[in-house]
Protein backbone atom coordinates (compact mmCIF):
# COMPACT_ATOMS: atom_id res chain seq x y z
CA UNK A 1 0.00 0.00 0.00
CA UNK A 2 1.08 3.49 -0.66
CA UNK A 3 2.02 5.75 2.18
CA UNK A 4 -0.66 8.35 2.84
CA UNK A 5 0.49 11.72 1.67
CA UNK A 6 -0.28 13.43 4.95
CA UNK A 7 1.98 11.32 7.11
CA UNK A 8 5.10 13.34 6.37
CA UNK A 9 4.02 16.19 8.63
CA UNK A 10 3.79 13.89 11.61
CA UNK A 11 7.09 12.25 10.76
CA UNK A 12 8.84 15.58 10.48
CA UNK A 13 7.51 16.46 13.90
CA UNK A 14 8.76 13.14 15.29
CA UNK A 15 12.22 13.81 13.85
CA UNK A 16 12.19 17.22 15.47
CA UNK A 17 11.35 15.79 18.87
CA UNK A 18 14.17 13.28 18.49
CA UNK A 19 16.61 16.07 17.64
CA UNK A 20 18.01 16.94 21.11
CA UNK A 21 19.15 13.40 21.82
CA UNK A 22 20.84 13.19 18.40
CA UNK A 23 22.56 16.52 18.91
CA UNK A 24 24.00 15.37 22.23
CA UNK A 25 25.66 12.37 20.64
CA UNK A 26 28.41 14.57 19.12
CA UNK A 27 30.79 11.80 18.16
CA UNK A 28 28.15 9.52 16.72
CA UNK A 29 29.15 8.12 13.27
CA UNK A 30 27.74 9.81 10.12
CA UNK A 31 24.35 8.34 9.23
CA UNK A 32 24.58 5.32 6.93
CA UNK A 33 22.64 4.68 3.77
CA UNK A 34 19.98 2.78 5.67
CA UNK A 35 19.05 5.97 7.46
CA UNK A 36 19.40 8.61 4.72
CA UNK A 37 18.98 6.49 1.59
CA UNK A 38 15.19 6.45 1.56
CA UNK A 39 15.11 10.25 2.06
CA UNK A 40 17.48 10.80 -0.83
CA UNK A 41 15.70 8.35 -3.13
CA UNK A 42 12.21 9.67 -2.37
CA UNK A 43 13.37 13.26 -2.80
CA UNK A 44 14.84 12.25 -6.14
CA UNK A 45 11.55 10.56 -7.08
CA UNK A 46 9.62 13.76 -6.30
CA UNK A 47 12.02 15.89 -8.31
CA UNK A 48 11.99 13.65 -11.39
CA UNK A 49 8.27 12.91 -11.22
CA UNK A 50 7.68 16.63 -10.64
CA UNK A 51 9.60 17.50 -13.83
CA UNK A 52 7.46 15.03 -15.76
CA UNK A 53 4.20 16.38 -14.37
CA UNK A 54 5.44 19.93 -14.98
CA UNK A 55 5.86 19.00 -18.64
CA UNK A 56 2.19 18.05 -18.76
CA UNK A 57 1.60 21.82 -18.83
CA UNK A 58 3.26 21.74 -22.25
CA UNK A 59 1.10 18.76 -23.19
CA UNK A 60 -2.10 20.58 -22.27
CA UNK A 61 -0.90 23.67 -24.16
CA UNK A 62 -0.18 21.73 -27.35
CA UNK A 63 -3.37 19.65 -27.14
CA UNK A 64 -5.48 22.77 -26.69
CA UNK A 65 -3.49 24.77 -29.25
CA UNK A 66 -4.16 22.05 -31.80
CA UNK A 67 -7.86 21.71 -31.08
CA UNK A 68 -8.78 25.41 -31.20
CA UNK A 69 -9.02 27.40 -34.40
CA UNK A 70 -5.91 29.27 -35.54
CA UNK A 71 -7.49 32.62 -34.62
CA UNK A 72 -7.49 31.62 -30.92
CA UNK A 73 -4.11 29.91 -30.58
CA UNK A 74 -2.13 32.83 -29.12
CA UNK A 75 -4.83 33.30 -26.47
CA UNK A 76 -4.83 29.60 -25.61
CA UNK A 77 -1.06 29.61 -25.17
CA UNK A 78 -1.30 32.77 -23.05
CA UNK A 79 -3.88 31.15 -20.78
CA UNK A 80 -1.79 28.01 -20.42
CA UNK A 81 1.44 29.67 -19.35
CA UNK A 82 -0.46 32.15 -17.17
CA UNK A 83 -2.55 29.51 -15.38
CA UNK A 84 0.51 27.39 -14.62
CA UNK A 85 2.32 30.39 -13.20
CA UNK A 86 -0.67 31.61 -11.20
CA UNK A 87 -1.12 28.10 -9.77
CA UNK A 88 2.55 27.96 -8.74
CA UNK A 89 2.29 31.24 -6.83
CA UNK A 90 -1.08 30.49 -5.23
CA UNK A 91 0.13 27.10 -4.07
CA UNK A 92 3.02 28.77 -2.24
CA UNK A 93 0.82 31.55 -0.85
CA UNK A 94 -1.78 29.25 0.67
CA UNK A 95 -2.53 26.11 -1.33
CA UNK A 96 0.14 23.74 -0.07
CA UNK A 97 -0.46 24.30 3.63
CA UNK A 98 -4.23 24.45 3.17
CA UNK A 99 -4.06 21.04 1.50
CA UNK A 100 -1.55 19.50 3.94
CA UNK A 101 -2.42 21.23 7.22
CA UNK A 102 -1.15 18.50 9.52
CA UNK A 103 -3.55 18.33 12.45
CA UNK A 104 -6.89 19.86 11.45
CA UNK A 105 -10.64 19.42 11.70
CA UNK A 106 -10.70 17.24 8.57
CA UNK A 107 -12.66 19.74 6.48
CA UNK A 108 -10.80 23.06 6.15
CA UNK A 109 -7.27 23.95 7.23
CA UNK A 110 -5.77 27.40 7.77
CA UNK A 111 -5.62 30.04 5.04
CA UNK A 112 -2.61 32.12 4.02
CA UNK A 113 0.09 29.94 5.53
CA UNK A 114 2.94 30.22 3.05
CA UNK A 115 5.38 27.41 2.33
CA UNK A 116 8.85 27.48 3.90
CA UNK A 117 11.62 25.30 2.43
CA UNK A 118 14.21 23.29 4.33
CA UNK A 119 17.20 25.49 5.28
CA UNK A 120 20.15 25.60 2.88
CA UNK A 121 22.34 22.51 3.33
CA UNK A 122 19.97 20.97 5.86
CA UNK A 123 21.62 18.46 8.19
CA UNK A 124 20.42 14.87 8.13
CA UNK A 125 19.26 15.24 11.72
CA UNK A 126 16.96 18.12 10.72
CA UNK A 127 15.47 16.49 7.62
CA UNK A 128 12.28 14.42 7.43
CA UNK A 129 14.28 11.23 6.93
CA UNK A 130 11.20 9.05 6.66
CA UNK A 131 9.82 11.14 3.80
CA UNK A 132 11.47 13.70 1.51
CA UNK A 133 12.65 17.30 1.39
CA UNK A 134 10.01 20.02 1.68
CA UNK A 135 11.14 21.55 -1.63
CA UNK A 136 10.63 18.32 -3.57
CA UNK A 137 7.30 17.61 -1.86
CA UNK A 138 6.02 21.16 -2.44
CA UNK A 139 7.13 21.13 -6.07
CA UNK A 140 5.62 17.71 -6.75
CA UNK A 141 2.28 18.77 -5.25
CA UNK A 142 2.10 22.13 -7.03
CA UNK A 143 2.47 20.63 -10.51
CA UNK A 144 -0.69 18.61 -9.77
CA UNK A 145 -2.80 21.67 -9.04
CA UNK A 146 -1.60 23.22 -12.29
CA UNK A 147 -2.95 20.17 -14.14
CA UNK A 148 -6.37 20.78 -12.60
CA UNK A 149 -6.40 24.36 -13.87
CA UNK A 150 -5.29 23.25 -17.36
CA UNK A 151 -8.36 21.04 -17.62
CA UNK A 152 -10.59 24.10 -17.22
CA UNK A 153 -8.82 26.16 -19.87
CA UNK A 154 -9.34 23.53 -22.55
CA UNK A 155 -13.07 23.19 -22.03
CA UNK A 156 -13.72 26.95 -22.02
CA UNK A 157 -11.46 27.83 -24.95
CA UNK A 158 -12.25 30.25 -27.76
CA UNK A 159 -14.79 32.42 -25.93
CA UNK A 160 -13.77 33.19 -22.34
CA UNK A 161 -12.01 36.45 -21.45
CA UNK A 162 -8.44 36.17 -20.19
CA UNK A 163 -8.64 38.02 -16.85
CA UNK A 164 -11.88 36.53 -15.48
CA UNK A 165 -10.49 33.12 -16.40
CA UNK A 166 -7.31 33.83 -14.44
CA UNK A 167 -9.37 35.14 -11.53
CA UNK A 168 -11.11 31.77 -11.45
CA UNK A 169 -7.74 30.01 -11.56
CA UNK A 170 -6.55 32.03 -8.54
CA UNK A 171 -9.46 30.74 -6.44
CA UNK A 172 -9.42 27.23 -7.88
CA UNK A 173 -5.73 26.68 -7.20
CA UNK A 174 -5.55 28.65 -3.96
CA UNK A 175 -8.82 27.61 -2.31
CA UNK A 176 -11.11 25.03 -3.97
CA UNK A 177 -8.53 22.42 -4.94
CA UNK A 178 -6.51 22.62 -1.69
CA UNK A 179 -9.62 22.42 0.52
CA UNK A 180 -11.09 19.40 -1.24
CA UNK A 181 -7.61 17.90 -1.61
CA UNK A 182 -7.09 18.09 2.17
CA UNK A 183 -10.11 15.85 2.71
CA UNK A 184 -8.18 12.97 1.17
CA UNK A 185 -4.45 13.62 0.81
CA UNK A 186 -4.26 15.99 3.76
CA UNK A 187 -5.61 13.29 6.06
CA UNK A 188 -9.11 14.79 6.27
CA UNK A 189 -12.51 13.22 6.67
CA UNK A 190 -12.63 11.27 3.41
CA UNK A 191 -9.31 9.61 4.05
CA UNK A 192 -10.60 8.73 7.54
CA UNK A 193 -13.70 7.28 5.87
CA UNK A 194 -11.53 4.97 3.78
CA UNK A 195 -11.83 6.67 0.39
CA UNK A 196 -9.07 5.60 -2.00
CA UNK A 197 -7.64 7.75 -4.81
CA UNK A 198 -3.98 6.92 -5.39
CA UNK A 199 -2.88 9.69 -7.77
CA UNK A 200 -6.03 11.73 -8.22
CA UNK A 201 -8.69 10.47 -10.65
CA UNK A 202 -11.08 12.35 -8.41
CA UNK A 203 -8.88 14.67 -6.34
CA UNK A 204 -7.19 16.18 -9.42
CA UNK A 205 -8.97 15.18 -12.63
CA UNK A 206 -12.61 15.15 -11.64
CA UNK A 207 -12.11 18.39 -9.71
CA UNK A 208 -10.82 20.02 -12.89
CA UNK A 209 -13.69 18.43 -14.80
CA UNK A 210 -16.36 19.68 -12.38
CA UNK A 211 -14.92 23.21 -12.48
CA UNK A 212 -14.86 23.03 -16.28
CA UNK A 213 -18.44 21.73 -16.45
CA UNK A 214 -19.72 24.57 -14.26
CA UNK A 215 -17.80 27.05 -16.41
CA UNK A 216 -19.07 25.61 -19.69
CA UNK A 217 -22.68 25.83 -18.46
CA UNK A 218 -22.38 29.44 -17.26
CA UNK A 219 -20.32 30.54 -20.26
CA UNK A 220 -22.45 28.95 -22.98
CA UNK A 221 -21.35 27.38 -26.25
CA UNK A 222 -19.21 29.00 -28.94
CA UNK A 223 -21.11 30.99 -31.57
CA UNK A 224 -22.34 28.70 -34.33
CA UNK A 225 -21.59 25.47 -32.47
CA UNK A 226 -25.26 24.52 -32.14
CA UNK A 227 -27.84 25.35 -34.81
CA UNK A 228 -31.39 26.48 -34.00
CA UNK A 229 -32.79 23.11 -35.10
CA UNK A 230 -30.58 21.33 -32.56
CA UNK A 231 -27.97 20.53 -35.17
CA UNK A 232 -24.38 20.19 -33.93
CA UNK A 233 -21.86 22.03 -36.08
CA UNK A 234 -18.35 20.67 -35.64
CA UNK A 235 -15.59 23.27 -35.34
CA UNK A 236 -12.43 21.40 -36.38
CA UNK A 237 -9.17 22.29 -34.67
CA UNK A 238 -6.29 24.06 -36.36
CA UNK A 239 -3.49 21.53 -36.01
CA UNK A 240 -3.92 17.85 -35.25
CA UNK A 241 -0.16 17.29 -35.30
CA UNK A 242 0.17 19.61 -32.28
CA UNK A 243 -2.81 17.95 -30.61
CA UNK A 244 -1.12 14.56 -31.05
CA UNK A 245 2.19 15.87 -29.73
CA UNK A 246 0.32 17.28 -26.73
CA UNK A 247 -1.27 13.92 -26.03
CA UNK A 248 2.07 12.13 -26.17
CA UNK A 249 3.56 14.73 -23.80
CA UNK A 250 0.68 14.20 -21.37
CA UNK A 251 1.17 10.45 -21.62
CA UNK A 252 4.86 10.89 -20.76
CA UNK A 253 4.02 13.27 -17.93
CA UNK A 254 1.57 10.74 -16.50
CA UNK A 255 4.42 8.40 -15.56
CA UNK A 256 5.47 11.09 -13.10
CA UNK A 257 1.89 11.79 -12.09
CA UNK A 258 1.13 8.20 -11.11
CA UNK A 259 4.64 6.87 -10.43
CA UNK A 260 5.56 9.78 -8.18
CA UNK A 261 2.36 9.25 -6.23
CA UNK A 262 3.94 6.16 -4.72
CA UNK A 263 5.48 8.87 -2.46
CA UNK A 264 8.42 6.64 -1.57
CA UNK A 265 11.37 5.05 -3.36
CA UNK A 266 13.58 3.98 -0.48
CA UNK A 267 12.95 0.22 -0.51
CA UNK A 268 12.96 -2.61 -3.02
CA UNK A 269 9.19 -2.78 -2.66
CA UNK A 270 8.70 0.92 -3.31
CA UNK A 271 10.94 1.17 -6.34
CA UNK A 272 9.35 -1.96 -7.82
CA UNK A 273 5.94 -0.47 -7.18
CA UNK A 274 6.92 2.70 -9.04
CA UNK A 275 7.90 0.64 -12.07
CA UNK A 276 4.74 -1.44 -11.73
CA UNK A 277 2.76 1.82 -11.86
CA UNK A 278 4.62 2.93 -15.02
CA UNK A 279 3.71 -0.31 -16.77
CA UNK A 280 0.05 -0.16 -15.74
CA UNK A 281 -0.24 3.53 -16.62
CA UNK A 282 1.14 2.88 -20.08
CA UNK A 283 -1.17 -0.09 -20.63
CA UNK A 284 -4.29 1.87 -19.69
CA UNK A 285 -3.40 4.69 -22.10
CA UNK A 286 -2.71 2.25 -24.92
CA UNK A 287 -5.96 0.37 -24.42
CA UNK A 288 -7.94 3.61 -24.17
CA UNK A 289 -6.50 4.75 -27.50
CA UNK A 290 -7.06 1.42 -29.28
CA UNK A 291 -10.62 1.23 -27.95
CA UNK A 292 -11.44 4.71 -29.25
CA UNK A 293 -9.81 3.86 -32.59
CA UNK A 294 -11.92 0.72 -33.06
CA UNK A 295 -15.10 2.26 -31.67
CA UNK A 296 -15.03 5.33 -33.93
CA UNK A 297 -14.33 3.06 -36.92
CA UNK A 298 -17.37 0.95 -36.04
CA UNK A 299 -19.68 3.87 -35.20
CA UNK A 300 -18.66 6.38 -37.87
CA UNK A 301 -17.02 4.22 -40.56
CA UNK A 302 -13.82 6.24 -40.16
CA UNK A 303 -11.49 6.50 -37.15
CA UNK A 304 -11.48 9.96 -35.53
CA UNK A 305 -7.97 10.97 -34.45
CA UNK A 306 -9.24 13.53 -31.95
CA UNK A 307 -11.25 10.78 -30.23
CA UNK A 308 -8.23 8.46 -30.23
CA UNK A 309 -6.23 11.19 -28.47
CA UNK A 310 -9.05 11.65 -25.96
CA UNK A 311 -9.23 7.86 -25.59
CA UNK A 312 -5.57 7.61 -24.59
CA UNK A 313 -6.07 10.39 -22.03
CA UNK A 314 -9.27 8.78 -20.72
CA UNK A 315 -7.33 5.53 -20.24
CA UNK A 316 -4.75 7.45 -18.24
CA UNK A 317 -7.35 9.20 -16.07
CA UNK A 318 -9.11 5.86 -15.48
CA UNK A 319 -6.01 4.15 -14.09
CA UNK A 320 -4.95 7.13 -11.97
CA UNK A 321 -7.08 6.25 -8.94
CA UNK A 322 -5.41 2.83 -8.65
CA UNK A 323 -2.38 2.38 -10.90
CA UNK A 324 -0.55 0.05 -8.52
CA UNK A 325 -2.76 -2.88 -7.59
CA UNK A 326 -4.16 -4.01 -11.00
CA UNK A 327 -2.47 -6.58 -13.18
CA UNK A 328 -1.51 -5.49 -16.68
CA UNK A 329 -4.72 -7.07 -17.91
CA UNK A 330 -6.60 -5.12 -15.27
CA UNK A 331 -5.04 -1.88 -16.50
CA UNK A 332 -5.98 -2.89 -20.04
CA UNK A 333 -9.67 -3.28 -19.39
CA UNK A 334 -9.94 -0.33 -17.00
CA UNK A 335 -8.35 1.88 -19.66
CA UNK A 336 -10.55 0.40 -22.37
CA UNK A 337 -13.70 1.32 -20.47
CA UNK A 338 -12.28 4.85 -20.22
CA UNK A 339 -11.93 4.90 -24.02
CA UNK A 340 -15.54 3.77 -24.45
CA UNK A 341 -16.75 6.45 -22.02
CA UNK A 342 -15.08 9.21 -24.01
CA UNK A 343 -16.38 8.12 -27.39
CA UNK A 344 -19.92 7.88 -26.04
CA UNK A 345 -19.99 11.02 -23.88
CA UNK A 346 -18.46 13.55 -26.29
CA UNK A 347 -21.61 13.47 -28.50
CA UNK A 348 -23.77 13.29 -25.36
CA UNK A 349 -22.43 16.65 -24.10
CA UNK A 350 -23.15 18.11 -27.54
CA UNK A 351 -26.75 16.91 -27.27
CA UNK A 352 -26.98 18.83 -23.98
CA UNK A 353 -25.48 21.87 -25.77
CA UNK A 354 -22.52 21.94 -23.39
CA UNK A 355 -19.61 23.03 -25.55
CA UNK A 356 -16.34 21.47 -24.39
CA UNK A 357 -13.73 22.39 -27.00
CA UNK A 358 -11.15 19.69 -26.27
CA UNK A 359 -13.24 16.97 -24.60
CA UNK A 360 -11.92 17.83 -21.12
CA UNK A 361 -15.15 16.93 -19.32
CA UNK A 362 -15.49 13.41 -20.80
CA UNK A 363 -11.79 12.72 -20.32
CA UNK A 364 -11.18 14.15 -16.86
CA UNK A 365 -14.59 14.08 -15.19
CA UNK A 366 -16.40 11.06 -16.63
CA UNK A 367 -13.33 8.82 -16.93
CA UNK A 368 -12.22 10.15 -13.52
CA UNK A 369 -15.45 8.95 -11.94
CA UNK A 370 -15.01 5.59 -13.64
CA UNK A 371 -11.42 5.26 -12.48
CA UNK A 372 -12.43 6.04 -8.90
CA UNK A 373 -15.10 3.34 -8.99
CA UNK A 374 -12.71 0.87 -10.64
CA UNK A 375 -10.44 0.99 -7.57
CA UNK A 376 -12.70 -1.58 -5.89
CA UNK A 377 -11.87 -4.28 -8.44
CA UNK A 378 -8.21 -4.61 -7.47
CA UNK A 379 -7.82 -2.85 -4.14
CA UNK A 380 -9.39 -4.92 -1.38
CA UNK A 381 -9.30 -2.02 1.09
CA UNK A 382 -11.66 0.10 -0.97
CA UNK A 383 -15.44 -0.20 -0.86
CA UNK A 384 -17.88 0.90 -3.52
CA UNK A 385 -19.96 2.91 -1.06
CA UNK A 386 -16.99 4.95 0.15
CA UNK A 387 -15.75 5.49 -3.39
CA UNK A 388 -19.19 6.82 -4.39
CA UNK A 389 -19.25 9.00 -1.28
CA UNK A 390 -15.92 10.53 -2.28
CA UNK A 391 -17.04 11.09 -5.87
CA UNK A 392 -20.25 12.76 -4.67
CA UNK A 393 -18.46 14.91 -2.09
CA UNK A 394 -15.88 16.21 -4.57
CA UNK A 395 -18.56 16.70 -7.19
CA UNK A 396 -20.95 18.59 -4.94
CA UNK A 397 -18.29 20.86 -3.44
CA UNK A 398 -16.34 21.66 -6.59
CA UNK A 399 -19.34 21.99 -8.90
CA UNK A 400 -21.35 24.22 -6.56
CA UNK A 401 -18.39 26.37 -5.49
CA UNK A 402 -17.31 26.76 -9.13
CA UNK A 403 -20.83 27.53 -10.28
CA UNK A 404 -21.17 30.28 -7.68
CA UNK A 405 -17.80 31.77 -8.60
CA UNK A 406 -18.53 31.67 -12.32
CA UNK A 407 -21.88 33.41 -11.72
CA UNK A 408 -20.22 36.08 -9.58
CA UNK A 409 -17.61 36.70 -12.26
CA UNK A 410 -20.30 36.79 -14.94
CA UNK A 411 -22.42 39.28 -13.00
CA UNK A 412 -19.52 41.59 -12.09
CA UNK A 413 -16.83 41.71 -14.76
CA UNK A 414 -18.40 39.44 -17.39
CA UNK A 415 -16.67 36.28 -18.53
CA UNK A 416 -17.42 36.18 -22.23
CA UNK A 417 -16.00 38.22 -25.09
CA UNK A 418 -18.43 40.08 -27.39
CA UNK A 419 -19.84 38.42 -30.50
CA UNK A 420 -17.65 40.42 -32.83
CA UNK A 421 -14.53 39.65 -30.80
CA UNK A 422 -15.40 35.97 -30.86
CA UNK A 423 -15.82 35.98 -34.62
CA UNK A 424 -12.61 37.93 -35.14
CA UNK A 425 -10.83 35.52 -32.81
CA UNK A 426 -9.48 36.22 -29.35
CA UNK A 427 -5.93 36.57 -30.66
CA UNK A 428 -6.60 39.84 -32.47
CA UNK A 429 -9.54 40.99 -30.33
CA UNK A 430 -7.99 40.56 -26.88
CA UNK A 431 -4.26 40.38 -27.57
CA UNK A 432 -3.68 42.07 -30.93
CA UNK A 433 -1.29 39.28 -31.80
CA UNK A 434 -1.71 36.28 -34.06
CA UNK A 435 -0.15 32.84 -33.70
CA UNK A 436 0.34 32.48 -37.44
CA UNK A 437 0.52 36.05 -38.85
CA UNK A 438 1.99 34.97 -42.18
CA UNK A 439 -0.78 32.54 -43.12
CA UNK A 440 -3.84 33.64 -45.07
CA UNK A 441 -7.17 33.44 -43.28
CA UNK A 442 -8.96 30.16 -43.74
Amino acid sequence: MNMQRFTHKGLAAAAFIALPSLAMAQDAPAPGFDEIGPYIMTTLLFCMAGFLVFFMAAGFAMLEGGLVRSKNVTMQMTKNIALYSVAAIMYWLMGFNLMYPGEFNGYVGSFFVTTTLDPVGVAAADAALDYASVGSDFFFQLVFVAATASIVSGALAERIKLWPFLAFVVVLTGVFYPISGSWQWGGGWLSEAGFSDFAGSTVVHSVGGWAALAGAIVLGPRLGKYGKDGKVNPIPGSNLALATLGTFILWLGWFGFNGGSQLAMGTVGDVSDVSRIFANTNMAAASGAVTALILTQLMYKKPDLTMVLNGALAGLVSITAEPLAPTLFGALWIGAVGGIIVVLTVPMLDKLKIDDVVGAIPVHLFAGIWGTIAVVFYNGDASLGTQLLGIAAYGAFTFVASLVLWFILKATVGIRVGEEEEMTGLDMAELGMEAYPEFSKG
Binding site: V232, N233, P234, P236, M299, Y300, K301, K302, D304, T306, M307, V343, V346, P347, D350, G359
Partner: protein, 112 residues
Protein backbone atom coordinates in the same frame (compact mmCIF):
# COMPACT_ATOMS: atom_id res chain seq x y z
CA UNK B 1 -7.29 36.89 -77.89
CA UNK B 2 -9.02 34.46 -75.59
CA UNK B 3 -8.93 33.98 -71.82
CA UNK B 4 -9.38 30.33 -70.93
CA UNK B 5 -10.53 29.66 -67.38
CA UNK B 6 -10.40 26.06 -66.25
CA UNK B 7 -11.28 24.53 -62.90
CA UNK B 8 -9.44 21.27 -62.36
CA UNK B 9 -8.72 18.75 -59.64
CA UNK B 10 -5.73 19.98 -57.60
CA UNK B 11 -3.60 16.88 -58.16
CA UNK B 12 -3.94 17.34 -61.94
CA UNK B 13 -2.17 20.72 -61.95
CA UNK B 14 1.30 19.46 -62.80
CA UNK B 15 0.06 17.29 -65.68
CA UNK B 16 -1.93 20.16 -67.12
CA UNK B 17 1.00 22.57 -66.81
CA UNK B 18 3.32 20.13 -68.59
CA UNK B 19 0.84 19.51 -71.38
CA UNK B 20 0.26 23.25 -71.90
CA UNK B 21 3.94 24.20 -71.96
CA UNK B 22 4.36 21.29 -74.38
CA UNK B 23 2.12 23.03 -76.94
CA UNK B 24 3.81 26.40 -76.45
CA UNK B 25 1.75 28.15 -73.79
CA UNK B 26 4.16 30.55 -72.11
CA UNK B 27 2.31 31.61 -69.01
CA UNK B 28 -0.64 30.91 -66.77
CA UNK B 29 -2.24 32.09 -63.56
CA UNK B 30 -3.14 29.56 -60.88
CA UNK B 31 -5.43 30.06 -57.88
CA UNK B 32 -6.48 27.65 -55.14
CA UNK B 33 -10.26 27.84 -54.93
CA UNK B 34 -13.22 26.04 -53.40
CA UNK B 35 -16.51 25.47 -55.13
CA UNK B 36 -19.21 23.03 -56.04
CA UNK B 37 -20.74 21.74 -59.24
CA UNK B 38 -22.14 18.38 -60.18
CA UNK B 39 -19.80 16.74 -57.67
CA UNK B 40 -21.60 18.75 -55.00
CA UNK B 41 -20.47 18.28 -51.41
CA UNK B 42 -20.26 15.33 -49.07
CA UNK B 43 -20.59 14.73 -45.35
CA UNK B 44 -17.91 13.97 -42.77
CA UNK B 45 -18.01 13.22 -39.04
CA UNK B 46 -15.91 15.14 -36.49
CA UNK B 47 -16.11 14.08 -32.85
CA UNK B 48 -19.41 12.32 -33.41
CA UNK B 49 -21.17 15.19 -35.21
CA UNK B 50 -21.90 15.04 -38.91
CA UNK B 51 -21.11 18.05 -41.04
CA UNK B 52 -21.43 18.86 -44.72
CA UNK B 53 -18.42 19.74 -46.82
CA UNK B 54 -20.26 21.97 -49.30
CA UNK B 55 -17.25 23.30 -51.14
CA UNK B 56 -14.67 21.07 -52.72
CA UNK B 57 -11.08 22.30 -53.19
CA UNK B 58 -10.17 22.97 -56.84
CA UNK B 59 -7.48 24.75 -58.80
CA UNK B 60 -8.47 27.60 -61.09
CA UNK B 61 -6.24 28.02 -64.11
CA UNK B 62 -6.29 31.15 -66.29
CA UNK B 63 -4.50 31.14 -69.63
CA UNK B 64 -4.46 34.03 -72.11
CA UNK B 65 -3.69 32.97 -75.71
CA UNK B 66 -4.23 34.10 -79.27
CA UNK B 67 -7.62 33.22 -80.70
CA UNK B 68 -5.99 30.78 -83.12
CA UNK B 69 -4.56 28.76 -80.30
CA UNK B 70 -7.62 28.67 -78.05
CA UNK B 71 -9.17 25.41 -79.27
CA UNK B 72 -5.88 23.56 -78.97
CA UNK B 73 -5.45 24.82 -75.39
CA UNK B 74 -8.97 23.76 -74.43
CA UNK B 75 -8.34 20.31 -75.94
CA UNK B 76 -5.05 19.94 -74.14
CA UNK B 77 -6.48 20.91 -70.75
CA UNK B 78 -9.41 18.56 -71.26
CA UNK B 79 -7.17 15.61 -72.08
CA UNK B 80 -4.72 16.26 -69.24
CA UNK B 81 -7.27 17.02 -66.54
CA UNK B 82 -9.74 14.23 -67.29
CA UNK B 83 -10.09 11.29 -64.91
CA UNK B 84 -13.54 10.30 -66.15
CA UNK B 85 -14.95 10.61 -62.67
CA UNK B 86 -17.38 13.24 -61.44
CA UNK B 87 -15.67 16.48 -60.36
CA UNK B 88 -13.13 16.82 -63.18
CA UNK B 89 -14.06 20.49 -63.56
CA UNK B 90 -15.15 22.94 -66.26
CA UNK B 91 -13.55 25.16 -68.89
CA UNK B 92 -14.78 28.62 -69.91
CA UNK B 93 -13.52 30.67 -72.86
CA UNK B 94 -13.84 34.47 -72.82
CA UNK B 95 -12.83 37.21 -75.22
CA UNK B 96 -9.99 39.51 -74.15
CA UNK B 97 -10.44 43.14 -75.14
CA UNK B 98 -6.96 44.34 -74.44
CA UNK B 99 -3.60 43.09 -73.19
CA UNK B 100 -0.41 44.92 -72.19
CA UNK B 101 3.00 43.82 -71.00
CA UNK B 102 3.99 46.10 -68.12
CA UNK B 103 7.77 45.99 -68.68
CA UNK B 104 7.86 46.91 -72.39
CA UNK B 105 4.48 48.48 -73.04
CA UNK B 106 3.80 45.93 -75.84
CA UNK B 107 0.09 45.46 -76.42
CA UNK B 108 -2.38 42.75 -77.38
CA UNK B 109 -0.96 39.58 -79.08
CA UNK B 110 2.59 40.87 -78.63
CA UNK B 111 1.95 41.05 -74.93
CA UNK B 112 0.75 37.45 -74.52
Amino acid sequence: MKLIIATIKPFKLEEVREALTGIGVRGMMVTEIKGFGAQSGHTEIYRGAEYAVNFVPKIKLEVAVSAAMADQVVDTITKAARTGKIGDGKIFVLDIQQALRVRTGETNEDAL
